[in-house]
Symmetry: C2
Subunit: 477 residues, 2 copies
Amino acid sequence: MSNAENSPHLPIEDFRNYGYQLVDWLAEYFRSIDDKRILPEISPGDIRAMLPETAPEHAEHMEDIIADLDHVVMPGMAHWQHPGWFAFFPSGVSPVSVLGEFVAAGLATQGMMWSTAPAATEIENTVLDWLVDLLGLPSSWRIDTGPGGGVLQMSASDSTHLSLVVARHHAVEAGHPTDSLVAYGSEQAHSSIEKGARIAGFRHIRSIPVDASFCLNVDAFEKQIGLDLADGLIPTWVCSAVGTTSTTAMDPIRPIAAIARDHGMWHHADAAYAGSAMICPEFRHLQDGVELVDSYTFNPHKWLLTNFDCSVFWVADRSKLINTLSILPAYLKNESSGNPAAIDYRDWHVPLGRRFRALKLWFVLRSYGAEKLRSFVRSHVDWAEELENRLALDSRFEIVAPRTLALVCFRHVGGNETTKSLANAINASGTTYLTPSVIDDTDFIRVSIGSTWTERRHIEALWELIDMNGPPSEYHL
Amino acid sequence: MSNAENSPHLPIEDFRNYGYQLVDWLAEYFRSIDDKRILPEISPGDIRAMLPETAPEHAEHMEDIIADLDHVVMPGMAHWQHPGWFAFFPSGVSPVSVLGEFVAAGLATQGMMWSTAPAATEIENTVLDWLVDLLGLPSSWRIDTGPGGGVLQMSASDSTHLSLVVARHHAVEAGHPTDSLVAYGSEQAHSSIEKGARIAGFRHIRSIPVDASFCLNVDAFEKQIGLDLADGLIPTWVCSAVGTTSTTAMDPIRPIAAIARDHGMWHHADAAYAGSAMICPEFRHLQDGVELVDSYTFNPHKWLLTNFDCSVFWVADRSKLINTLSILPAYLKNESSGNPAAIDYRDWHVPLGRRFRALKLWFVLRSYGAEKLRSFVRSHVDWAEELENRLALDSRFEIVAPRTLALVCFRHVGGNETTKSLANAINASGTTYLTPSVIDDTDFIRVSIGSTWTERRHIEALWELIDMNGPPSEYHL
């Protein structure tokens, strides 16, 4: 570090002092998260109104900058880490993961190639191989022994997009016009399926109807393929949702795989949320047939205590991914180019540069150990089951979708307006946040259990809010 | 934070203690970076061989995990922050930025929508508006007053890819077949142009010849368009490199813009490295005509002291970007959907989720202030000019490309082998790392000055290495 008197950078002793101060600030944030109002009471523009219109010309004091975490940032925070956060899916975080991200930032290594970041590259492919075994996935997906391999992406959307690009690339190489290619997913699949397909240039994106459990209807899928073939189109890619976003419905991978194979389609599994649960063997039946897919994504940054961004993307055959993306200009050539033991991850995703994201995942897997991670996931599933049972036994409520993991979907028997009012009343508490949703004009409430700091008592408190705000069943009848 | 005795998480006091320990560890890393061997002496597989084949079943001690930073990570580090790092382009970092990333990780906010992260969203659009003015870009790119706007992406590759997707989307909407679209860039453009175009589904990607200064040859560009039109193809997208990777050549934006306008093409400017220099008014002539482009990207994570990932992507008309990417499922609808003051950044890029990347940029812009950032950039340009002058005056060397900013490209007059030997000898020092490159079978050496900790004395040391290892000019003649 510079000892020059005119160095423009923060002196090392100041880094140390402000570093300690921010460690304390975050420790206090974690400690007090339960006491905070879960959503901010502000309007669009309020935070911006506190900021100057132009950048400061002269240096500001670090004390003032740090103070603005309380004065500017906190008033505009939706506290995803609040233990009463049951909205969307959880935003993975843990003290250990935060420390890992901190170190990775400090090292500022650029992982585009093995030669520019050997440790980051090898730790990444090692921990992703660990996860293959931890999740009970095909060992041929391990990079050390199989033709497959994993890479960290920013999000499941990126992974899904990439699988679409690889599928499109090979279909076009086989001579099909881009505009003839078709991508399929269930009408309950995540928005990233349609968005990813659109970004990848698919002109034909099919939303396949679902069955009563909101899983992709295989007959409808086959029928749609028949219609598309009759129109001269080329079925190219299909997604099996291993847990849809609205209700964690599980698409039937095995029959979908058979159809995909018959038509030479790329079969992608989106287990963004549910993948983390596969560390527990008892949940693996939910993704029966997973060994048949061509690619798979899941997000440790959702339910595995690791900070966003940390999404895993596995391909069963890494050569297909690399062939699609590899470009090697002169300034990136080096001694280890082409060495199979030296993975150049730049050929595994859209960006060239990449940070040392595997560090936090390595920290998390080691500091918890598989045993504690399993019990962490199991506790949420148990609490979800308890809540589901209470709701099912109460005549005011009904479960609207089968619970597969730690997401409970219910509604008030009084109908849409009563259900929406109930959700609003619960969210107005300031201690709890859950997401209202809709399927086929039926409003319901999603309770997603999985935040780091949530304990059983927070589910009790949620139940009390539901109970208190849920009118009698005859109210709207 | 949990007080439960059976909490699986790191207790708050342990977070504090290990946090302090890692602050100290990073402080020591910064302090001692100059003493380290710049590249590791290892082979592919060496780091992996230190790691177990499977994840630990039981929790490991944090002490052991932290100790492995020294035992496992350090032996496999290419030290991008070493002050003798003149390779590639710099990997932006500063103590302040690292602290910002740490806090952002701790907050674990998910910025997909305004409503899920109001502070993160509004700080992001504010600092990107600040940068519009700081870089002297068109004020219509400010989101608060114009039709344009900025968004943080992971890398310039992502920004470039996205601009290609928007261009393709609108060309297809206008009725053109995907397979008829053509993307253009100079043959010196970054690999992300070809890679991005391929990922975006362009079947026709043209490498346009360059002039003697390695800038896109406008006549050749026009001629190629004529050929493509004659073949029934549709010119759709063109990139102006504001600083190529090999030599920081500057494509002539103004005439390229005129051609792009005539043909209804999307015109993207890739200023990944050079954009940071535009905070100094004296360099803005290098991107004359920038107000005419449709999109622009630059990376504060290269030369503006901000950690990767932090790439800015501006569009002159944000509605074109949003129209291409917006998808609104039920579970993402909320009260502020559609409110123009509530930006939903999920519609501005491929992923849905996003972390609070603007925090570190806000920290950096405030703690340095515009004044110090300008002098930081200017010092590198000055040192590059000094080095260039020394090389130019020495009969052993020749400058192979005009220097525009802080990249010096030179070779030994003895030819390719002598030049490559010189690069190898310098890199073998262990104190300095620079990238050999090639254009048209001419080997040369890139010296990119821009690392955070580099001082004038390190350029002196580099000169001594060049001087010491460069054989007399008659040696190979």
